[in-house]
């Protein structure tokens, strides 16, 4: 039988931050990850708060957090500060700073937690966020004032059309009142690249190649000279060494270079998971991949054992404390049974965004027709107390079970753009509280 002082179920941002934080307290931590979840698919940037519940765009994420605490008492941001705005803001800041520090050996996150920025994406529109890897942050729309932007595409690359992105750039500039001088595009090709159905990861891997990135820089220098461009946007700057690749290309082409945000499959998201995992491993956290938590045993409201499962194979793990960071539907933390939402591991009761139990409410009742309106289903999940302990059907929580990330109800990461902010904050305090609970 395996043993762990703290078992974290889920290897996304929330789980890994919780694992790192618990390990910081000197505990022996085991993370179990069943496969690539939502973080792996995410844009790889740090959203804290851009559109607070029923509000328009907020330029200051922390002000957004404040408003959220005031208007949405069941929001995790409100819960971590016990309803006190200043306390919430302080705690969110502390957690996000911890996240920046935690990942600093692998990602240079740029930006300011008190300022949201507009970043262009590969689908021709934009994303609002507050911190992003340096290679992405360099392309923030504010910096494109008076710029002549050249968007470089690769023939045959799946899902990137620089011509459309150029027209999108003009739309974004006028929407956000940025005086973009010109948005141009160019198509690149290279004998080493597949002629069609080239994937983002193939291109990213190629970017990491010394010779390729140099040649790309040279090709771009020519394009820049012809078009008199001042900035170059690329769909990706590589997987292993984006920062270095950017520098090489910038030197060759002699203009500012940045990479665009992209929907899944997103390279920055994949980079973030990889780096976070390296960072927690450095803290002596063990990570088991390919297993999922399939059952548990409890005694007197304490979780004693978690059963891990992979195919037919079952491994019981004796645990001191457990952190549930299984995510929503993408991660598998929430599942469906007879049209109702279920929590997958412990069968915890599921609540809506306002803190009301779902009971017999069926999924279609939690959806609205317009896919661009707020979907109540997104805010469903388990309900936590200020210690991040999820409520059980018996009313009171298990003494040693904590929850983190999007398995928690009360927030809509899609609408708010608060995904990593809440994941980091709830992960941080879940990890810390798990440690306290064991030490006591």
């Amino acid at each position: 039988m395996l043993e762990a002082e703290v078992l974290v179920i889920g290897g996304g941002i929330a789980g890994l931050v919780a694992a790192a934080r618990a390990a910081d307290e000197g505990l022996e931590v085991l993370v179990v990850d069943k496969g690539s979840g939502a973080t792996y698919q995410s844009a790889g940037v740090v959203d804290v708060m851009a559109y607070p519940p029923s509000q328009g765009l907020f330029l200051n994420p922390l002000k957004g957090v404040e408003v959220t605490v005031k208007t949405a008492p069941t929001h995790p941001y409100a819960i971590i500060g016990r309803g006190n705005e200043e306390e919430s803001v302080r705690r969110v800041k502390e957690a996000v700073e911890y996240f920046i520090d935690l990942t600093s050996s692998g990602i240079r996150l740029e930006g300011d937690i008190e300022r949201n920025v507009i970043l262009m994406n590969t689908i021709g529109s934009f994303k609002v966020t507050c911190l992003a890897p340096h290679t992405i942050f360099n392309g923030k729309v504010d910096d494109l004032s008076d710029a002549s932007l050249l968007i470089a595409g690769f023939r045959g690359l799946l899902g990137f059309n620089p011509a459309f992105c150029a027209s999108g750039a003009e739309y974004i500039a006028s929407k956000f009142n940025v005086n973009l001088k010109e948005a141009m595009y160019t198509w690149l090709s290279h004998p080493r690249l597949r002629k069609f159905n080239l994937t983002f990861i193939e291109l990213a891997r190629m970017m990491d190649d010394d010779e390729f990135r140099k040649e790309l820089g040279e090709a771009l220098r020519k394009a820049v000279a012809e078009r008199e461009a001042t900035h170059i946007a690329l769909p990706t700057l590589g997987f292993e060494s984006p920062e270095e690749n950017m520098k090489v290309i910038e030197e060759e082409a002699d203009v500012k270079v940045f990479e665009l945000i992209s929907p899944p499959p997103s390279i920055p998201g994949q980079r973030m998971v990889k780096i976070l995992e390296e960072c927690v491993r450095k803290r002596k956290v063990r990570v088991i991949r390919g297993y999922k938590a399939a059952g548990f045993r409890e005694e007197n409201m304490r979780v004693k054992e978690i059963i891990l499962e992979s195919g037919e194979k079952k491994i019981p793990v004796r645990v001191g404390a457990c952190i549930l960071a299984t995510g929503k539907f993408i991660g598998g933390g929430l599942t469906e049974e007879e049209d109702m939402v279920k929590e997958a591991v412990f069968g915890l009761p599921v609540y809506d965004g306002r803190g009301q139990p779902l009971d017999e409410r069926k999924i279609p009742k939690l959806l609205v027709r317009d896919p661009f309106s707020q979907q109540p289903l997104i805010a469903c999940g388990v309900k936590v107390n200020p210690q991040m302990k999820p409520l059980t059907l018996r009313g009171k929580p298990y003494e040693n079970l904590f929850a983190a990330g999007s398995i928690i109800s009360g927030y809509d990461y899609v609408k708010e753009r608060s995904g990593i902010g809440v994941a980091a904050a709830t992960g941080y305090f879940a990890g810390l509280n798990a440690a306290y609970c064991l030490k006591r």
Binding site: S42, I123, L158, N161, A163, N197, P264, S266, S373
Partner: protein
């Protein structure tokens, strides 16, 4: 000149067939479709072109016609026609008696359409063929039916009409019928994309608007009643069974589960509706009725992944006091001069997909008679575009270095024209990049649909290429296709975003009825990608 011999209203399988027949007989023809080709009942049906066995006892002539039409369609549209073997699962003794007659009449008809004979299989034999069948069946009857891609049928028929000189105008709505001294002399239409209105004159107006026939007739001051009947289909992510399965529904009707293209389709319901057919929607009850019914024969159906729910409205002939299933599927051509004293107007009621060509033939005969023209129908002889020759899949796959799967999917839609589409790669190999990964649709095929098949919106591209119809329901292809559409049609970013949102809204329609199992993860992914990362919830059109 905007004066025509014939104006056809409706771009479904019937309307396009009429336009084709009229044009082939040398009539100056124009067709108006309010939305897109095959966007009504044609696009919501299962694509079965039944040999008509069901009608053999009550309506032998009609059954004969169906059988004949299957042969014609297999000939003129061979690349979009496919054969599906079917097992009728019999669960009770009582049901066995009911099915007996069916088995008898089937035999004689199958010989005529060169189909395999019906076979009665023991439960063991049947389950060996189709392991997903319930162990509770007492018998299974094996036969087969032909199917057609209904979207392609309408598009190819319209293309053929165009090649013979007809004009096809999609997104053009008839807003009025022009009438003088009791005689129809044309229509007033509105271009729904530009808002422009114009009058178009014609000697004969043919109302083939399906469920909207009464609405059009009203414009000419004619009262017409149909029995509008809603049918709902549930679409699954994979073929589920190798055989089509038919079984008795909870209320004694029949329901079916057919493997269809890359997925499976479960249907159908039959509910009389009395509202505007535009407002017809699938409901939770219909989905549950279908699943609970099919569950008796295929127990695992409840666990299968539903990707979509859709409905269509059958324009049945107004026979009442009998169940929907007993209403004739034969059609009626109405000469409004004879019936209502309105000269120049013809309409069609009832009918079904398989007889669309025959309906057109009968109507065109009447049109010719009225115009004093003599020309024989040739629609059953000449192939539709793409059906003219054979395609060598291996050769094409090797020549263009595309996967055999991609080539075979392309050929199932484009037939002999596949070669021309793949030829784009000679000047630009990147044209073979997949846009829709679920259905293996290339950029070249999408551009072809935009340039040569009246593809104006993303929904149009879906109907023509199956883009966005797979398990991801547009999540990974919608934005890619929007960029191509914008490029081809010179749309601004703002217009393209609006188009993208309209497409995704349509794709998500079924979700508010049923969203289960792993489709929830796909749904969350779409939400996150398009709103959280793509900000489609905040791309308001800019003011000038």
């Amino acid at each position: 000149m905007n004066a025509y011999d014939v104006i056809v209203i409706g771009g479904g399988s019937t309307g396009t067939s009429i336009a084709r027949d009229c044009a082939m007989r040398g009539l100056k023809t124009i067709l108006f479709e309010r939305k897109d080709l095959a966007s009504g009942a044609t696009g919501a049906c299962a694509g079965m072109i039944s040999g008509g066995v069901k009608y053999a006892l009550q309506e032998p002539d009609f059954a004969e016609m169906c059988t004949r039409e299957v042969v014609y369609l297999s000939r003129i549209a061979k690349h979009i026609v496919f054969r599906t073997p079917i097992l009728t699962a019999i669960l009770t003794e009582e049901e066995l008696k009911l099915r007996e007659k069916f088995v008898d009449t089937y035999g004689t008809l199958t010989r005529k359409r060169q189909a395999s004979p019906i076979l009665i299989l023991s439960p063991r034999e049947a389950r060996k063929l189709e392991p997903k069948l319930s162990p509770n069946i007492i018998l299974a009857a094996y036969f087969d039916e032909m199917f057609i891609d209904p979207f392609r049928l309408a598009v190819l028929t319209a293309l053929s009409a165009k090649q013979h000189g007809a004009e096809i105008r999609t997104y053009t709505e008839v807003v009025d019928i022009l009438k003088r001294n009791g005689e129809v002399y044309g229509v007033k239409v509105r271009d729904r994309l530009t808002g422009k209105e114009e009058e178009v004159y014609g000697k004969i107006v043919v109302n083939a608007a399906g469920a909207w026939v009464p609405k059009i007739s009203r414009m000419a001051g004619v009262s017409q009643t149909l029995r509008l009947n809603k049918g709902t289909h549930v679409v699954f992510d994979r073929r589920i069974t190798g055989f089509g399965i038919i079984c008795r529904a909870l209320d004694g009707r029949s329901v079916y589960l057919f493997p269809h293209e890359t997925g499976a389709i479960l249907g159908t319901t039959a509910i009389d509706i009395f509202t505007d057919p535009d407002d017809a929607e699938a409901t939770y009850d219909e989905v549950e009725y279908l699943i609970s019914s099919m569950e008796m024969a295929v127990p695992s159906i409840r666990e299968a992944r539903i990707v979509r729910v859709m409905c269509g409205v059958r324009p049945l002939i107004a026979q009442w006091w009998i169940p929907e299933g007993d209403v004739t599927r034969n059609f009626k051509v109405i000469d409004h001069e004879e019936r209502d004293g309105v000269k120049g107007l013809i309409s069609v009621e009832g009918g079904k997909l398989v007889v669309c060509r025959a309906m057109a033939e009968k109507i065109t005969d009447l049109v010719c008679e009225k115009l004093g023209r003599e020309a024989a129908c040739r629609t059953h002889l000449e192939p539709l575009p793409g059906a003219e020759g054979e395609v060598d899949l291996n050769k094409l796959s090797l020549k263009y270095n595309v996967s055999p799967h991609t080539v075979s999917r392309l050929a199932s839609r484009q037939g002999a024209l596949s070669q021309n589409i793949l030829a784009c790669a000679e000047s630009d190999p990147s044209a073979l990049t997949s846009v829709c990964l679920c259905e293996s649709v290339t950029e070249a095929e999408l551009r072809h649909a935009i340039r040569g098949e009246w593809g104006k919106t993303l929904e149009d591209l879906r109907r023509r290429t199956r883009m966005g119809m797979g398990p991801c329901q547009g999540f990974s292809c919608a934005y890619k296709a929007a960029a191509i559409l914008a490029e081809e049609r010179g749309m601004s970013a703002s217009e393209a975003f609006r188009e993208l949102k309209a497409f995704l809204t349509e794709r998500c329609k079924g979700h508010s009825i049923v969203l289960r199992g792993s489709q929830l993860s796909e749904w969350e992914m779409t939400q996150a990608a398009y709103n959280c990362v793509g900000s489609m919830d905040d791309v308001t059109p800019l003011e000038d």
